[in-house]
């Protein structure tokens, strides 16, 4: 019988999350973020968090909610605009920010999950990102050594999942979720729909359940759009 990862609520899913931990949160902008886990992090009020997430939400949504409550002391991200509170905390020194090229961030999470402690990439060579990092030439081109990232908890959001923790994402809401699922010591997946075991086609699962320790159905999804853009038909 497949191993069951189902928990009944965000509260149960976040058991063991403590102040001072390093968390990964999937999503790109506000797309594919673990809304219910973020709500629960706000509710339990853990502090001094290091958050690894491509972005930092907006003022009143996504990680912005944790920033408003001053629960985060360090962000590891590739792009953190769109957030006044973030800017204020960063400029005042309350918030430490480690900016990483987006591809390096993605690959460092994957490496963390895949047991690869370090790898070479050309991204950032010759820039301040390379400061203090080993440089090596491959095929005539300089590369820098980047290290793997792991986290105490990873929070990811999927479209569908099953009790074994298998996940399927929708469209570009996939983004960082699969790599972060791999890199969490404990990975919590929140899903829009929990389907019966065996219903997901084993050929089309994005994240195998082995990477997921807990799964629950999110109570409510706002799925806010950051830049609503339409064409005139």
């Amino acid at each position: 019988m497949a191993i069951s990862k189902v928990v009944s609520s965000a509260e149960e899913a976040l058991q063991g999350v403590e102040s001072g931990m390093t968390l990964m949160l999937g999503g790109f902008g506000l797309c594919g973020i673990p809304e219910n886990c973020i709500e629960e992090l706000v509710r339990i009020g853990v502090k001094d968090l290091t958050c690894i997430s491509n972005n930092a939400g907006v003022d009143d949504f996504g990680l912005g909610k944790l920033l408003q409550k001053r629960q985060i002391i360090k962000m590891i991200s590739s792009y953190v605009g769109e957030n006044e509170e973030f800017e204020r905390q960063m400029l005042s020194g309350e918030l430490e920010v480690d900016l990483i090229p987006q591809g390096s961030l993605a690959e460092r999470c994957r490496a963390g999950g895949a047991g690869v402690p370090a790898f070479f990439t050309p991204a950032g060579y010759g820039t301040e990102v390379a400061e203090g990092k080993e440089v090596r030439i491959f095929d005539g081109k300089p590369h820098i050594l980047e290290s793997a990232l792991i986290s105490d908890f990873a929070f990811v959001k999927a479209w569908k999942g099953d009790s074994a923790g298998n996940l399927v994402f929708k469209a570009t809401a996939r983004n960082f979720n699969p790599m972060m699922a791999m890199a969490g010591m404990i990975t919590v997946a929140e899903v829009e729909e929990l389907v019966p075991l065996g219903e997901l086609d084993p050929n089309t699962i994005h994240t195998p359940g082995i990477f997921v320790q807990r799964i629950f159905v999110g109570e409510k999804y706002e799925k806010r759009i950051e830049q609503r853009t339409v064409r005139h038909a």
Binding site: G29, C109, Y125, R228
Partner: protein, 217 residues
């Protein structure tokens, strides 16, 4: 002199049939509007789609389907979604034939600065460092001068770098320029723009050939 759409239109002429293209935010995004029907290209957005289509019509926005600028988009037939690691595998692995992005400064050695102004709020580099470090073919789309009228084509960048020695071509409101052998090389001038004006507006070494054709756009 070109407007933003003119720059995008000129860059569209650089695109070849069968290319995968990554367009940055701003002027580069406009390039998609000017690709001729006769050419098959696919647009990659680094947040995880290949085969990006136009913006949706009103009412058909899908919050799960956005581009790297966080704008709602659509997908073309044959499109595919993937995760961020796979997306940058495409970019870092040089499977994307052309990257078009904006810049604050470009230097005669092909350096580019486009992510950080000291003393101002730093938003981050996003995918720009990966894109410029990997693409074989990088075109910078920008205004020739900044709002204060100072040249953005410099002997050396003064701002923190995004990438080193990577830019090969720049298309501005005034001209098309190639970067090689430590200098800008004037390739074309925009309609209504004189060579003198380009020389005036270019702070880095500029090689001007005897004949400077006018862009045909």
């Amino acid at each position: 002199m070109l407007d933003k759409n003119g720059i995008a239109k000129r860059i569209a002429q650089e695109v070849r049939n069968g290319w995968y293209v990554n367009l940055g935010i701003g002027i580069p995004t406009l390039v998609a509007n000017h690709i001729p029907e006769s050419i098959d290209v696919e647009f990659q957005s680094e947040n995880g789609i290949l085969g990006m289509g136009p913006f949706p019509v009103d009412g058909e926005e899908d919050s799960d389907l956005i581009n790297a600028g966080k704008q709602t988009i659509t997908a073309m037939p044959g499109a595919v979604y993937f995760d961020s690691a796979t997306s940058f595998a495409m970019i870092r692995g040089r499977h994307v034939q052309l990257t078009v992005l904006g810049a604050m400064e470009v230097s005669t050695s092909g350096d580019i600065a486009n992510w950080k102004i000291p003393g101002k709020m730093v938003k981050g580099m996003g995918g720009a460092m990966d894109l410029v470090a990997s693409a074989d073919n990088i075109i910078v789309a920008m205004m020739h001068t900044n709002r204060a009228g100072a040249s953005k084509l410099l002997p050396a960048c003064s701002l923190p770098l995004t990438g080193v020695g990577c830019v090969k071509r720049v298309v501005t409101n005034l001209a098309v320029l190639d970067i090689k052998d430590g200098a800008f090389h004037l390739v074309e001038r925009a309609p209504g723009v004189s060579v003198e004006e380009i020389v005036q507006s270019t702070a880095g070494d500029l090689v001007v050939p005897d004949e400077v054709p006018k862009m045909s756009i």
